[in-house]
């Protein structure tokens, strides 16, 4: 089955569906090549079957400054098993070939994408079936490296906001981001945490007061309990380290955790 919508339109449809079900969209993050290329694809496919709404497909980088120990270690393994920008693009194409139609955003640090060639990367990503791009070390001030080609190809270019972002930056990101805004839940790096930040409601309210863009929350969301809490607060949420950690135990553990997240937000 070919997909009818791609890029920003596919993301809009994803948010509309979740909103109709009075819940947030669930977007797992998983790096390509962890623990192997094939097993990472199997894990993503299993989460798709479990009812994930979309995916962040992680492109490994040797120096991931926004990531905590879990994702650092997993992406290091991925690099050792031969993961490259090309194999990540291949992964998206292969997943589309398996009939997985959920939106997929490629997420990776700037240097490997620049080395691949930014225009070429955006073109190949779209051709492979990707819908968006997230580059954690690319603030909107440096967006010119990708913005034109993303606009041309119809790929969403997602920027981030953090609890430290002031009103000026909220307005800037709201203007430049497309598809949604990635909301970093806390001042810190990625990694599972026991509790959600105490000031999360105030933070989201501060953003809602300035933008109508869909807000997708990431960093620290680790359990079905967290998922249930954020499902009523944001338009989507990302789970990374907890699923990657499960990935170290095997695909069953990934599928089980993803399924429990899906159940928690549908309850």
């Amino acid at each position: 089955m070919t997909r009818k919508l791609q890029g920003r339109a596919a993301l809009d449809a994803m948010f509309a569906r979740a909103q109709a079900e009075n819940r947030a969209a669930f977007l797992p993050y998983f790096p390509v090549g962890y623990p192997t290329h094939d097993e990472s694809l199997t894990a993503i496919a299993a989460m798709a079957a479990a009812g994930a709404d979309g995916f962040e497909i992680g492109i490994p980088f040797s120096d991931p400054i926004a990531d905590g120990p879990t994702i650092q270690a997993a992406t290091q393994v991925a690099l050792e098993t031969g993961s490259t920008v090309r194999t990540c693009l291949d992964a998206v194409r292969a997943l589309r070939g398996r009939g997985i139609n959920q939106p997929m955003l490629l997420m990776g640090y700037a240097n490997p994408l620049v080395a691949y060639g930014t225009d070429r990367f955006v073109r190949d990503a779209y051709a492979a079936g990707a819908d968006g791009l997230i580059v954690p070390d690319l603030p909107p001030e440096e967006a010119h490296y990708f913005a034109e080609s993303c606009a041309r190809e119809g790929l969403a270019l997602v920027f981030m906001l953090a609890p430290t972002s002031n009103d000026t930056r909220i307005d800037l990101v709201a203007e430049k981001s497309s598809g949604f805004i990635y909301v970093v839940s806390l001042t810190g790096i990625t990694g599972a945490r026991a509790d959600l930040p105490a000031d999360l409601h105030d933070f989201i309210a501060r953003l809602r007061a300035r933008t109508d863009m869909p807000l997708v929350l990431g960093f620290g969301i680790s359990s079905p309990e967290h998922a249930a809490q954020v499902s009523q607060l944001t338009d989507g949420f990302i789970v990374g380290s907890a699923l990657v950690r499960a990935g170290g135990e095997g695909v069953e553990a990934v599928q089980e955790l993803a399924a429990s997240m899906v159940a928690a937000i549908q309850a």
Binding site: F61, S62, L113, A115, D137, E141, E142, T164
Partner: protein, 407 residues
């Protein structure tokens, strides 16, 4: 001495977005973008404030021991039979290296900003020692990230930092050297950005660091330019400095940037030679080094075909970094500065030669600059002047050198 102890003309690069030509910029997670804006504004206010200059000048004179002298290396010059070699003696600055210049400048800025928790990264340990020293003086809390490979090869500096009251945090990730120490420091900053000042040690990282570190190091060139004219009666024909991140070199070069008769030469770490691919010569090996993005700035980066950062090698921990300050990339592109390399062996030879002929044991980093002087001086006339920035002293390297040359 001149009253301009740090840059005061703001007509120079970088531009408002932090770019030196096509290099530089600000490639960091959103979480620290507001902190960089805050830092940029605080720095701009500080360099407009005569009191800030006065306080820094006072510490430079009464604590660091500035101005550091310029020495005529007579026996070395005679032995080589060419240019007269002069040494800017940053090895005589308190803590034994130029790193203290930047540590004090940023330390005073941190204090102005009300930040009491200071983090830093270190490779050779000189920036760590400089920072720990400045923080002891200013009464601020100090945490230094250091790769475990560097901890092993720079034990005396680890002990110094601890003695000075700093907490040294071992970094086990990646190649366990300077690059990984910067990664960890940035992760700390992302986490603790509200109360923490990141005291970055070289002219790299996101804007405004390359500019700010250059400005705090520009005292080297401001002094040297005046001293060399007094001593040698002319501006140098050639000015040489080693380049890791490039802070001592940019600090020296900046004052000479409009002196067209002065050739500026940066010396990178050639390690075991280009063919070995075990080096840190970002400008010399364009097969594995090209413009890219690392640690928040766009510059030359040693990377594989997929854009993964490569591990580097140098006998000197302070030059062992896969990227280079963006202003150097710009100066090279403009052909205002030229970049060459010295291998480990050449640096070790220079280390011994300077010790024996001048009674000065240089840091292994600085020995790379001396090695270039040894190569170049014989090709120059006897009445020409070659100025070397002797960025640090070599006591910290004795274990490494004993390990290679034997006791």
């Amino acid at each position: 001495m001149t009253e301009a102890y740090i840059r005061t003309d703001i007509s120079d690069l970088p531009d408002a977005r932090g770019y030196f030509g096509e290099f530089g910029g600000r490639f960091v997670p959103e979480t620290i973008m507001p902190a960089l804006d805050e830092l940029e504004a605080a720095y701009a206010a500080a360099i407009d404030d005569p009191e800030f200059h006065a306080e820094l000048r006072h510490l430079q004179r009464t604590y660091t021991g500035r101005p550091t002298p310029v020495s005529h290396a007579r026996r070395l010059s005679e032995t080589l039979g060419g240019a007269q070699i002069y040494l800017k003696r940053e090895d005589l600055a308190h803590t034994g290296a130029h790193k203290i210049n930047n540590a004090l400048g940023q330390g005073l800025l941190a204090k102005r900003m009300g930040k009491r928790r200071i983090i830093a990264e270190t490779g050779a340990g000189q920036h760590g020692v400089g920072t720990a020293t400045a923080m002891a003086l200013l009464g601020l809390e100090c945490h230094v990230y250091m790769g475990t490979v560097d901890i092993k090869r720079q034990q005396p500096n680890v002990f110094r930092m601890r003695l000075l009251g700093a907490q040294v945090i071992p970094v086990e990730s990646g190649s366990r050297t300077l690059k990984d120490a910067i990664n960890e420091a940035m992760r700390d900053w992302v986490t603790n950005v509200r109360n923490t000042f990141y005291l970055l040690g070289s002219a790299l990282g996101p804007h405004p660091y390359p500019m700010m570190v250059r400005d705090f190091q520009s005292i080297i060139g401001i002094e040297a330019r005046q001293q060399i004219q007094q001593l040698a009666g002319q501006l140098p024909d050639v000015c040489v400095a080693c380049v890791g991140g490039g802070s001592n070199a940019i600090g020296m070069f900046h004052a000479f940037r409009h002196d067209e008769g002065t050739e500026l030469i940066g010396v990178e770490a050639g390690g075991h030679g280009i063919a070995s691919q075990q080096h840190a010569a970002r400008f010399a090996d364009l097969a594995i080094s090209r413009p890219g993005i690392l640690h928040g700035t766009r510059s030359y980066v040693m990377q594989d075909a997929d854009g993964q950062i490569m591990e580097t090698h140098s006998v000197s921990a302070g030059l062992d970094y896969p990227s280079v300050g963006p202003e150097h990339a710009h100066l090279r592109q403009l052909e205002r500065a030229y970049y060459t390399l010295a291998t480990d062996d050449e640096a070790l030879e220079a280390f011994q030669m300077l010790s024996k002929l001048e009674g000065i044991i240089p840091a292994l980093e600085s020995a790379h600059a001396v090695a270039e002087a040894i190569k170049r001086a014989p090709t120059m006339p006897r009445d020409s002047v070659l100025l070397v920035n002797l960025s640090g002293r070599g006591d910290k390297d004795l274990d490494t050198v004993i390990g290679i040359l034997g006791g």
